[in-house]
C-alpha cells in the first residue's frame, strides 16, 4: 500500500521541477465499466503508485440471502457474475446440497456440467471481446458477441431468460432439457469454434494487440499465489490449478481435457489461456453430450389436451375421478411440464424438491408438498451446520460458505468471489506500467462488479 499521500517535488539537473501527478480514473470512465475507481500517481505516463476503490455496485447479497428462503437466493446468484449466471446457480445449489447431504441425479449432474461450460464460453468470450475492444479491435468484440448470441439463444430456450436465468434448484434443476436442445447445442458449438478460430487469426499474431498485451500487467507466480489468485490468471502465472481436475466435482472426472498454463503471467498469457480454455470447454461439452444418460421418453399427450388452469377449474367442480391417470399439458410458463422428466433431473427428496405441477394440481399430496416448500415460514429445512463448497468458474474459484441454524433460510451465506482477490492484485499489476496499460491489465482480470461488490 502506498505510504505517501503528498506527491514529491524534485529538482532536476536542468533546473526544471518534476512533480508526480495524481490522476483519477473512473468510476465513470468507460474502461472502468462504471464501477471501479483507480487513483493513480503518475510520473509522466508511468504509474508510480495506485489505489483501487471498489464497492460501487454493492447490493447486500449476503445480507439479503440471510432473510429469504433457500431457493429464493437463486435470482440473487444470477446477478453475482452476470456474464455466466448459470455457474453461480450451480455453485450455490451445491453448497446447500452439501449441507443437506442430498445428491441430484446423474442426468442432472451432466446438465450442470453442460450449462457450466456454456457459461464459461460466454464469460471468456465477453472478457476477450471487451478487452480487445478497449484496445480498439471492435471487430473481435462484434464477432464474439455474435458467437455468444448462438449460446445465449440456447440458454434462453432452456431457462426462459438470457441473463436472469435462475435455472438451478436445490436438489436439481428447474426442468429437463427441451427436446432437441443437445443437437442444437452441438451445432452452435461448431459455429462458436469457427468464430474462436477467426478471432484467433485476428488477434494472436496481430502486431498491435501483441505489443499492447505482451509483458504488460506482469505478476509473478509467488505474488499471485499469495494474493489468492485463481482461475485463468493463476494458470497464466504458471500454476496448473483447476478445481475441475484437483477436486473433481459433479462429473468432471469423466471427461478428458487439458489445463492450459501460461509462461510468464502477463496479459498475453492470460489471453492465450482463455482462448485455449474455450476450446477445452467445447470439447468437454461435446463429450458430455455423448455421455449424458438418456432422459425419459417424451410422453405423448392424449387426444384431449388438458391445461393446468382447466384442471383447477375441473377440480373445483369435483370432476376429479380421472385426474390421477390423465396426462396433462401444463402452461409452458410453469416449470416442470412433464412429471417423468422432473424425476430424472431432481433428487428424490420431497423435503427439498418441488413436486411436478401435475401433482400440485392433481392430487392433495402434491399440493401439500408444494405448499410446505413454498409457504412463508416453511420451505426447505437445512440441518444445522456449516459447509464450504468451491467451483471452478470462469474467473477462478467461486466459493460459498454457508452456515445454517436449521431454519428456512441461511444463517450466513458468504460468497468467495474470484474477482475480489484478483482485484487486490490490480495495484501490483499496473504499478510501473504506462497509464494506457491499465486498460488491458484491468480487462484481463475480467472484473465483474456483480460478484466483486455483491
Amino acid at each position: 500500500m502506498p505510504a505517501s499521500i503528498d506527491t514529491e517535488t524534485t529538482q532536476t539537473e536542468s533546473g526544471t521541477t518534476r512533480k508526480a501527478m495524481l490522476l483519477n480514473v473512473g468510476p465513470s470512465h468507460p474502461a472502468m465499466h462504471g464501477v471501479i475507481r483507480i487513483i493513480t500517481e503518475l510520473d509522466g505516463e508511468t504509474v508510480i503508485d495506485s489505489d483501487v476503490e471498489i464497492g460501487y455496485l454493492h447490493r447486500a447479497f449476503e445480507k439479503e440471502s440471510e432473510v429469504v428462503p433457500w431457493n429464493n437466493v437463486f435470482p440473487y446468484t444470477d446477478r453475482l457474475n452476470y456474464v455466466s449466471p448459470l455457474m453461480n446457480n450451480v455453485c450455490y445449489a451445491m453448497g446447500v446440497e452439501k449441507l443437506l447431504d442430498v445428491h441430484p441425479t446423474e442426468r442432472c449432474d451432466y446438465i450442470r456440467v453442460i450449462i457450466s461450460e456454456v457459461s464459461r464460453l460466454t464469460d471468456h468470450m465477453t472478457c476477450i471481446g471487451a478487452s480487445a475492444m478497449e484496445l480498439g479491435a471492435m471487430t473481435v468484440f462484434i464477432y464474439f458477441m455474435k458467437a455468444r448470441e448462438y449460446l445465449y439463444e440456447l440458454v434462453e430456450e432452456l431457462t426462459g431468460a438470457r441473463l436472469t436465468v435462475s435455472y438451478v434448484r436445490v436438489g436439481g434443476v428447474k426442468a429437463d432439457l427441451p427436446e432437441g436442445w443437445l443437437e442444437r447445442l452441438d451445432k452452435a458449438l461448431d459455429k462458436t469454434a469457427k468464430v474462436i478460430d477467426e478471432n484467433d487469426k485476428l488477434l494472436t499474431r496481430n502486431r498491435i494487440f501483441f505489443d499492447r498485451m505482451k509483458d504488460v500487467g506482469l505478476l509473478d507466480t509467488d505474488t499471485a499465489w499469495a494474493l489468492g489468485f485463481s482461475g485463468p490468471l493463476m494458470r497464466a502465472a504458471g500454476v496448473p490449478r483447476d478445481l475441475r481436475k484437483d477436486e473433481p466435482y459433479l462429473v468432471y472426472d469423466r471427461f478428458d481435457f487439458d489445463i492450459p498454463v501460461g509462461a510468464v503471467g502477463d496479459n498475453y498469457d492470460r489471453y492465450l489461456v482463455r482462448m485455449e480454455e474455450m476450446r477445452q470447454s467445447i470439447s468437454i461439452i461435446k463429450q458430455a453430450i455423448k455421455q449424458i444418460p438418456s432422459g425419459p421418453v417424451q410422453v405423448g399427450l392424449d387426444s384431449r389436451p388438458f391445461t393446468g388452469a382447466q384442471m383447477v377449474d375441473a377440480a373445483k367442480m369435483g370432476l376429479t375421478s380421472d385426474m390421477l391417470v390423465r396426462k396433462v399439458r401444463i402452461d409452458p410458463t410453469l416449470e416442470g411440464t412433464n412429471k417423468h422428466q422432473i424425476r430424472f433431473v431432481n433428487a428424490p427428496f420431497k423435503q427439498v424438491v418441488l413436486p411436478p405441477k401435475e401433482d400440485t394440481y392433481g392430487n392433495i399430496e402434491g399440493l401439500m408438498n408444494h405448499f410446505m416448500l413454498i409457504m412463508d415460514g416453511e420451505g426447505i429445512k437445512v440441518p444445522e451446520g456449516e459447509a464450504y463448497v468451491a467451483n471452478e468458474v470462469a474467473n477462478g474459484e467461486l466459493g460459498f460458505y454457508i452456515v445454517s441454524d436449521g431454519t428456512g433460510h441461511a444463517y450466513r451465506c458468504r460468497v468467495r468471489p474470484p474477482c475480489f482477490y484478483l482485484m487486490q492484485g490490480l495495484t501490483e499489476m499496473i504499478n510501473g506500467d504506462m497509464l494506457a496499460d491499465i486498460v488491458p491489465s484491468f480487462g484481463s482480470i475480467n472484473m465483474i462488479a456483480g460478484e466483486l461488490d455483491r
Binding site: M1, P2, I5, D6, T7, L22, N24, I39, E41, D49, D51, I54, G55, H58, A60, E62, K63, E64, E66, V67, K98, L99, D101, T223, W225, A226, L227, G228, V239, R241, D246, E247, E384, G385, E386, A387, Y388, A390, E397, G399, Y401, V403, D405, Y411, R412, R414, R416, F420, Y421, M423, Q424, D453, R454
Partner: protein, 181 residues
Amino acid sequence: MTEPATTLDDNPVIARLREAFGDAIVETHAHRGDVTAVIAPDRYKEAIRLLKTDAELAFDFLTDLTAVDRLKLKKKPRFEVVVHLYSRKNNSRFRLKTRPANDREPEVDSIVDIIAGANWPEREVFDMFGITFTGHPNLKRILMYEEFVGHPLRKDYPVNKRQPLVPMREIPEDRPNIYSF
C-alpha cells in the same frame, strides 16, 4: 459447528495444531468433511503462521477470510472469524476459526504480514462486522462508504434500515487529494 465435538486426533493437521498449541485449540469438528479447528484468539496468528510455514502442512493459499455474527445463535463469544486455507502440496483444505473475546469491540490480529491476500478480506470483515484487525496496514471500509453508520452484516442491523443522506464532502485546502490512498 453444532455436531458433537469429535476429537479428530488422527487428522494430521489437527494433530500438529494440538501438539503446538495444546489447550488453545478450543474445538474441532469435521462437519460434512470440512476439517475445522477453533483456536484461542491470542494464538490465532501463530497458528496461521505455523499452518503456512510448516513443510508438511503447507497451507500457503488463503481461500477466504470472513466472519460470522453468532448473536442469534445465542452463543458466546459473539463473533467468529473464519479462515479457509488450501494446501497445494497436499491438495487439501482446512478451516481455522477464532472467536475474539470482546463482543463490544472485537479485535483480532491481522495476518496480512503472513499472507498478503488477507488485506482486502480483512477490510471487508471490518466494514461488514466491525471487527478490528490489529496491525492491518490500511484498515478502512471497502464496500461501504466512509460515512456509513453501523456494520451491515451484524445480526442486530435490520435488513431494511435506511442510512442518512451524506452531505457533500468538504475538501481541506491543505490536503487536496484527501480521497486518495
